[in-house]
């Protein structure tokens, strides 16, 4: 075992054998890794809120409801009615389109977001001048399978999106400027380091919250043991939504899973509703979608919690709603 100092000495004297050179190389590499581990920026814990800033861009309407037979065209027309994608996406922006790709189920089973909706949004973002559109979700079933079976990987990639699997080491630990049960939770970095966040959930049944909507869909950017979010889920989801501040929410209700959600698996539990909601206020979007699914919005714990805190609006009657048929 030669010590590194002696190796350096022989390097200076240009008498380094291949073996010694390799050793020196390995020492250098080890030092580099050790150094970068020690100097890791996480050590300097940033105090205070480190989520996305609220951009507060409004659409032409509070809610646009598109109805029709073709989810792709419905999406395009709905965004057009909101004032066009260029209102949200500026030139050279990095956009995250966050669909639900949680389950190893084909699109007909309505357990994941409709791939045509995702494809249309990716396309619109690029048309508005986006530099890059990212698509990912931390799935519940094996990621490799869900990305393929859901049809989203193929559909989004065809439109030029970067579809990838999130790495659990590439996270930001959430900090709030108020007391939150989500304090310190690891959130995938790309969900925060993006110029525009477009949340694309699918409307469907859920055993605990009765419906899964846009706020629940944000669990897909949370790393770590997400099951723990379920206890006290109302507060946690509203805090999470506050942390992420989605700029645009598009709820896919083209096919809707009404029973045995969120996984489904039986086509008899799926109805073709043929609808799509676009909104900028996630609370309003969720409230409207809940009503559409025949539920009292305030019976859903996270909508009730948002209403209690004045996070967004649940006033559907006072909202400016545009209905279009495609």
């Amino acid at each position: 075992m030669q010590n590194p100092i002696r190796l350096l000495e022989s390097l200076r004297q240009r008498k380094l054998s291949r073996r010694e050179f390799l050793k020196l190389f390995l020492y250098g590499l080890a030092g580099l890794i050790l150094g970068s581990e020690l100097l890791r920026p996480e050590a300097a814990k940033a105090a205070g809120f480190n989520g996305r800033k609220k951009r507060g861009i409004k659409g032409d309407h509070d809610i646009v409801l598109a109805e029709g037979d073709d989810p792709y065209t419905m999406t395009r027309r709905a965004i057009e009615a909101m004032g066009g994608m260029s209102r949200f996406v500026k030139k050279d922006d990095t956009v995250l389109v966050k669909p639900n790709i949680a389950w190893d189920r084909a699109p007909e089973y309505a357990a994941n977001t409709n791939p045509a909706v995702v494809a249309a949004l990716v396309e619109l973002c690029y048309e508005a001048g986006a530099k890059r559109v990212n698509v990912f979700d931390i799935s519940c079933n094996s990621a490799q399978r869900t990305y393929v079976t859901s049809g989203i990987q193929k559909a989004a990639q065809e439109k030029g999106a970067k579809v990838y699997f999130a790495d659990d080491w590439n996270v930001i630990n959430a900090h709030f400027n108020y007391e939150s049960p989500m304090e310190g939770w690891p959130i995938i970095r790309d969900a925060i380091d993006c110029d525009v966040f477009i949340n694309v959930p699918v409307l469907k049944h859920h055993g605990l919250t009765s419906l899964t909507l846009s706020m629940k869909n944000l669990m897909g950017v949370c790393s770590s043991s997400r099951g723990q979010i379920h206890s006290g889920i109302g507060t946690k989801l509203v805090d999470l939504t506050d942390f992420i501040q989605p700029d645009l929410t598009v709820i896919d209700a083209y096919r809707v899973l009404l029973k045995n959600g969120p996984t489904g698996g039986n086509l008899n539990d799926v109805v073709k509703m043929g609808k799509l909601i676009a909104a900028t206020d996630p609370t309003l979007a969720d409230a409207y979608a809940a009503k559409m699914a025949g539920k009292d919005p305030l019976s859903i714990c996270y909508i009730a919690e948002a209403a209690k805190r004045g996070f967004g609006s649940t006033n559907i009657d006072g909202a400016d709603i545009l209905k279009i048929s495609v």
């Binding site: 094996s142 859920h206 605990l208 099951g227 723990q228 489904g264």
Partner: protein
């Protein structure tokens, strides 16, 4: 130029790479050029022994017969030119420059061990117990590649990339490159295998024995080599030497110890490494199909020296008895499956599974959730390195049939997707003392959420507790298939509140 040696080395290298490639590509969606069981299909030891012990004809029988016919023509070309374990042993053996010059008698004696092992394996097979897996070189190599080599390479690459990307904040093109690498060749997640160190030590022991004697394993132990050696005795391709200076360089350098003192050779031991052609200073050695050797000194009947002596017989008798004792529990009656050992989907009879399974590790390599793990001694000696599901690590993916598709002996049956979805691995059981809604009246139902059965094998019972509706999960035994996703996702730590038990 040592053309033939070069050709042999290229062949060894290519087959070794092919072997690793096949296992590397043995992952979802299974799009490799060759099926993962390829090398086992051309393995007479596995196919013959499994066929004998199970009294069935396994696929690959024709290929194995073909391999034996080729051996009858060329000799042990498989050992010298193809076998990936042999190639690895050769690489290790290259570190040792000289072979000890052993006497003919000792060489002959050393060579006998593998035949005895082979005979014991076939005797066991006759009694319906397959133990070929212990000594089969393909199995040993595959297990090392799948459970040691690939995970450690992917792990080091993963750690190196993430350290560099994080350390220098290179979230740009380098990160994209790394993500592309992960989705294409590296695999999305780094696989982990429990006590893979034991598997590595077993492999390392075999490889490092070549420090003692070149090709130690192939000469002394390998039962597949023994089968090929039996056929190679009659091979048409022969080593022929013309009159030479009798320097015996070929004898002292032969890695297999196949050359006798009088320069004749044991055909069954020769792996056609071609070294002796170039080692010969007189250029007197050739391999040819010539019917009559120009000079074949001392072409005595080898069989005369090959008889098993009384002492040897007693030694091997003792070894056989000990190995029988090691598998005693197999002879006492049906193996009792332990409640916590969950076998892969479709495995119904534990005895048949143990006999079919060759412990190659294909199923564990391919398992998309990494849930299939090697057993150590939890199921006795006979269960070592067989796969079992550890739901805490990974559950059985509802729509996945990969493990049955890569099993070379169909120990895990090849199920259709419909059959697989109904294949019962066990039954989930909720521990009310740990479950959050049951014990602490907290919201949870993560198990119900993840249950893949379309009518939910985990159902919810609503209870009004101090004005709050709490949903408590319970298992419907008629629907539960024991896939273990509930156990995998259960947020309770350290022990999960829902566990799959074998039924």
């Amino acid at each position: 130029m040592k053309k033939l040696v070069l050709a042999r080395r290229i062949s060894q290298g290519l087959f070794l790479l092919l072997f690793i490639y096949i296992l590397w590509s043995s992952t979802y969606p299974l799009k490799g050029l060759l099926p993962p069981e390829t090398f086992f299909r051309i393995n007479p030891l596995i196919v013959f022994v499994a066929s004998v012990s199970l009294r069935v004809v396994l696929p690959g029988l024709i290929l194995c017969v073909l391999m034996l016919i080729l051996t009858l023509i060329f000799g042990r070309f498989f050992c010298g030119w193809i076998c990936p374990l042999g190639s690895t042993i050769d690489i290790a053996g290259a570190l040792r420059r000289k072979s000890p010059n052993l006497t003919d008698k000792l060489n002959a004696k050393l060579g006998k061990g593998k035949f005895v092992i082979m005979v014991i394996i076939f005797i066991f097979a006759y009694f319906g117990i397959q133990i070929a897996w212990i000594f089969d070189p393909m199995v040993i190599m595959a297990r090392f590649v799948s459970l040691n080599l690939i995970p450690s390479v992917t792990l080091s690459l993963d750690k190196a990339f993430s350290a560099v990307i994080r350390g220098f904040k290179l979230y740009g093109p380098l990160y994209d490159f790394y993500r592309a690498l992960k989705t294409s060749v590296l695999g999305v997640r780094v696989a982990y295998f429990s006590h893979s160190l034991v598997i590595f030590l077993f492999f390392a022991l075999i490889i490092s024995a070549s420090g003692l004697l070149k090709r130690f394993w192939c000469r002394l132990i390998c039962p597949l080599g023994a089968i090929y050696a039996l056929a190679a005795r009659f091979s048409l391709l022969k080593r022929i030497i013309s009159p030479c200076v009798n320097c015996k360089r070929c004898k002292s350098l032969c890695r297999m110890g196949a050359i006798h003192d009088d320069l004749s050779y044991a055909k069954g031991e020769c792996v056609l490494c071609m070294d002796c052609i170039y080692d010969c200073p007189a250029h007197a050695t050739v391999f040819a199909f010539a019917k009559k050797a120009m000079v074949e000194p001392g072409a005595k009947n080898e069989g005369a020296k090959d008889g098993i002596s009384r002492k040897n017989f007693l030694v091997w008798l003792v070894i056989s008895v000990i190995s029988f004792l090691g598998f005693r529990n197999r002879l006492e009656g049906p193996a009792a499956p332990r409640a916590n050992i969950i076998r892969p989907p479709g495995v119904e009879n534990e005895d048949e599974f143990l006999d079919r399974c060759i412990r190659c590790g294909n199923c564990m390599k391919v398992c998309i959730t990494n849930g299939l793990q090697p057993l150590l001694l939890q199921q006795g000696l006979s269960g070592i390195w067989t796969p079992h599901l550890i739901p805490e690590i990974g559950y059985c993916e509802y729509n996945c049939t990969l493990c049955g598709n890569v099993c070379p002996t169909q120990a895990i049956p090849r199920l259709s997707l419909e059959q697989k979805r109904q294949a019962r691995l066990g039954l989930a059981r909720i521990d009310h003392a740990l479950c959050l809604p049951w014990s602490k009246s907290k919201d949870c139902i993560v198990c119900e959420e993840h249950c893949p059965i379309s009518d939910k094998a985990i159902k919810l019972k609503e209870e009004n507790i101090q004005g709050r509706i709490i949903k408590k999960p319970f298992v419907d035994p008629a629907l539960c298939i024991g896939c273990g996703i509930c156990q995998n996702k259960c947020p309770v730590r350290p022990e999960r509140a829902i566990k799959v038990e074998r039924t």
